[in-house]
């Protein structure tokens, strides 16, 4: 969901709310679209923020966020969601240089087509409670052409 001007002033441009009910309905190994990276756009920040702690029998709930269907991990890579204390920022491979996560300033879509940004969950057992925000800062220079 695109944020309004006043909300975007806080630093993010897009947010997606992921709930336990969605995760259960989605089932392990599946993906949901959370945002769009426009042609020529850049993701400069990607965050996962815990609103409600997870519950259920699952102890291996893992979240990936990215654009590659086979392994969407450019923005958030294999985040231990049930073990998350509060938040994670820019831990994906697209932000990683020299083995250090969060060291690159952005992930560019240097193509002529928009890309879907998807979230993928993997887990065993049940997820009966939990709520997280996937927040992104997406720069779109095309919006400034006029």
């Amino acid at each position: 969901m695109k944020l309004a001007v006043q909300e975007a002033a806080y630093g993010f441009t897009d947010v997606y709310k992921l709930t336990a009910a969605q995760i259960t309905a989605l089932a392990t190994g599946n993906q949901v679209k959370v945002a769009t990276l426009p042609a020529g756009g850049v993701v400069t920040q990607a965050a996962v923020f815990e609103v409600v702690t997870s519950a259920g029998t699952s102890t291996d709930l893992v979240l990936d966020v990215g654009t590659t269907a086979g392994d969407p991990d450019e923005f958030i890579d294999a985040l231990d969601l049930d073990g998350l204390t509060k938040a994670a920022f820019c831990t994906g491979e697209g932000f990683t240089a020299g083995g250090d996560a969060g060291t690159l300033n952005g992930v560019v879509n240097n193509t002529a087509s928009a890309l879907d940004i998807v979230a993928e969950v993997n887990f065993t057992g049940t997820v009966t409670a939990g709520e997280w925000l996937i927040a992104l800062t997406i720069l779109d220079p095309a919006a400034l052409s006029r």
Partner: protein, 142 residues
């Protein structure tokens, strides 16, 4: 051009410079154009070179920096290209482009942000944007 507060909130850039193939022809080979100002004590946190409309023909090499350097965007051809983002030497550490968080003007004078050209060969039909996020703490001095 400084952007409005609404544009800044939505796009996270503070400055944009639009140029076309016709502008490039007018400037000519090895020319330099000022595209923004990095104020004294200010910082550039990110820049982008974005292709709004591809060149129909011809070719252009250009870079962005201060003076004649490539601090912000390394020398690149405009075709084929959609976007380059903070890959200049000023954002590079240990050989990895885009690893530094910003370029500071730690002087008492403003610095010109320049677009400089290599070879321009009959460019036709293109339209481009240079976008920058420039933080200026002086504006919030109270």
């Amino acid at each position: 051009m400084i952007l409005s507060s609404r544009e800044v909130a939505l796009n996270k850039f503070t400055d944009v410079y639009r140029f076309t193939s016709a502008d490039l022809v007018e400037i000519g080979n090895s020319g330099t154009v000022k595209v923004a100002t990095l104020p004294a004590g200010g910082i550039i946190t990110n820049v982008a070179l974005f292709v709004v409309k591809d060149l129909e023909s011809g070719s252009v090499l250009l870079q962005f920096g201060d003076g004649t350097s490539a601090n912000y965007i390394n020398q690149t051809s405009l075709s084929p290209l959609k976007c380059r983002y903070s890959d200049g030497v000023g954002f590079t550490q240990g050989g990895d482009a885009g690893t530094l968080n910003g370029i500071v003007n730690n002087t008492t004078d403003d610095i010109d942000v320049n677009m400089t050209f290599g070879l321009i060969t009959d460019p036709v039909g293109g339209e481009f944007l240079f976008c920058a996020n420039i933080l200026d703490p002086a504006k919030i001095a109270i």
